[in-house]
Point group: none
Chain length 197, copies 4
Amino acid sequence: MFIYYRAMRVKDEIKQEAIIQATVDLVNEIGFVSSSVAKIAKRANVSPATIYIYYQNKEDLLVSTYMQIKTCLGQALMDHFDPSFPVRDALMNAGINLFNYISKHADMFYFTEQFANSPYNDLVDKTEIEQVFQPLFDMLKRGIKEKIIKDVPVELLHSHLYYPIFNLANPRLNPNFKASPKDIELAMSMAWDAIKL
Amino acid sequence: MFIYYRAMRVKDEIKQEAIIQATVDLVNEIGFVSSSVAKIAKRANVSPATIYIYYQNKEDLLVSTYMQIKTCLGQALMDHFDPSFPVRDALMNAGINLFNYISKHADMFYFTEQFANSPYNDLVDKTEIEQVFQPLFDMLKRGIKEKIIKDVPVELLHSHLYYPIFNLANPRLNPNFKASPKDIELAMSMAWDAIKL
Amino acid sequence: MFIYYRAMRVKDEIKQEAIIQATVDLVNEIGFVSSSVAKIAKRANVSPATIYIYYQNKEDLLVSTYMQIKTCLGQALMDHFDPSFPVRDALMNAGINLFNYISKHADMFYFTEQFANSPYNDLVDKTEIEQVFQPLFDMLKRGIKEKIIKDVPVELLHSHLYYPIFNLANPRLNPNFKASPKDIELAMSMAWDAIKL
Amino acid sequence: MFIYYRAMRVKDEIKQEAIIQATVDLVNEIGFVSSSVAKIAKRANVSPATIYIYYQNKEDLLVSTYMQIKTCLGQALMDHFDPSFPVRDALMNAGINLFNYISKHADMFYFTEQFANSPYNDLVDKTEIEQVFQPLFDMLKRGIKEKIIKDVPVELLHSHLYYPIFNLANPRLNPNFKASPKDIELAMSMAWDAIKL
DNA sequence: GATGAATGAGCCTTCATTCAT
DNA sequence: GATGAATGAAGGCTCATTCAT
């Protein structure tokens, strides 16, 4: 009996994982516009009705998938983070983490980029995601106070620190450029030049 | 010419302009996913069938609209460009132009951001657009040769130079930040720090 | 001035002829279901609106075209008809005429077959067409009275006399059979065996 | 089997039958041109989308319906067929069967006549249908060998044997003639006169 | 929990026809 | 007379979602 239930649960998780992967893959291939629930179900080898067991509706499926990926990315970004590190080292470390995550999960990252630039993005509670990054933001503020970093609105710091990497890593925006680890180190070094005082 | 007009009715430029504006507005409001041809037509005070006089199909409507905007933006960006300018001045000038265009045509810019991150982007001939920016690219190369700018792949230069501005100006990505001209000057100055040697 | 008007009329007739031919060809190629006024107009190198100068509406275009062809066929059928001929000779002559017309105007015949088996057929005044065949019907009646032809309902005579030829000549129903003049003579001879007493 | 039914809903044969009947009826009443999927669905008391569960598209619906009827007709035609029968008896038997089928299923027959003369006919695999008639064709060949039937191309035999009946039974082509069983016997007798040596 | 059948609403597109020139 | 622009209605088909099993 016990084994029976364990077998059931394992099966369920595999099914949900299949749905998420199918969603990401299909949206990457044909976009939100063409990705219907029926197509996602078929790709995941699942009945359309089954999707509605795991998610309330299509919107919930997409937003939940996005949130899950974004949370993973946030955690990956903070890997090995130590508030006692020098500011530059901590930021560089996060940049490397970001690049590594994108390299390993290109499909997931690609999905989030399309999502974040679509109206679906308006549905997510951004505070929840930003919480993960709070230690990083705090470090930036510390850098300002210590006169290491330019005293400008934080949005300017963010946009110069990590968005160039997002841009570089996005095959849609840079189809002919395949960033190497060395490129990323270069990019992070440039980003530091941008924000440092 | 006179006879020509007598013989037939002529396409109405005002009508076409209304279709383009309706497309941009609606896509900005409810996204590609929800922007049906019928809704666009209604917004433009036009019959759905009329849209198919001006465009081959929905895809053509969206792609053509994007191309038109992107071409305008490219031309605006190059305003007052002078190849004999110092590299920094030329790049800063383009940055200011970019910001001005975005400020004046926020709706158009907003549309292109969603478009560029959707699969529709895969349908456009990027070489056509990039041609407009060629003088800017040449100037970057000149800067490298003159040892003013870092000798790194051009993609790194691009992504640090203008992508932060795109990010800052995008209300979807920075809903609570309204960039002032001074912020942009700051941002461009930071971008310069990033790429300068 | 006179020449001017003649030139105009010639031009008009050519245009109308082009419309008819385009209608027949298109209906043969893609059927009634897919033959839109716009497509017919394009095939005839004419504006859709022009068709409405010559015909009241689409139905009128199709029915008129049918009537015109059927009238031609009727006249061709009666060629060299002489009521003083022996019954068999007269009927055989009509059969040959029928075959010759079909051979020369395969497209027109093909059109009428599809038309006659579609609901458009319900719109035509059959008495008008049958009038042309009246002398032939009279001859059949004469044959019955003279005890040369079986005394059965005329519909049976008709269906045995000419419908086999219609069937043989229809490439849709006999795609692999190309009737030769000799085949038709054979077929007419068989038809005569069917109706003769 | 029991588990199968528990696990899912099953296609409803009654529903499919209703769709077929609605298709036949509507096409008979208003023709292929006017018979839209929406109208057929409404007639069958079914959603338009439901039709696409049973058929791939409209074309498939029409062609499948035709094939089903034609197969039924073929089987009915061969009822009581015995290759050891005298040639004439066998052919007459088939003619009677044909007439009986048409009388009982006038709507189905009427549908096939319009279908066979439309471009939809070009989509069907005729060999599949003709297989059913093969024994009849063999018998005709036997009749030729035994010098009972005229030695002419089989197409001539076919067109004289059964096409007149098709014509007689078609209310579109003979709106004022209602064939009685006796008429059919007469017609078959005439057909025999046409093909017999 | 899981399924495939079932659906009304809506999709993109084309229709037959009319309008202004 | 002749045209291409313009249109509301309708075309075939797919959608997100629910139902019965």
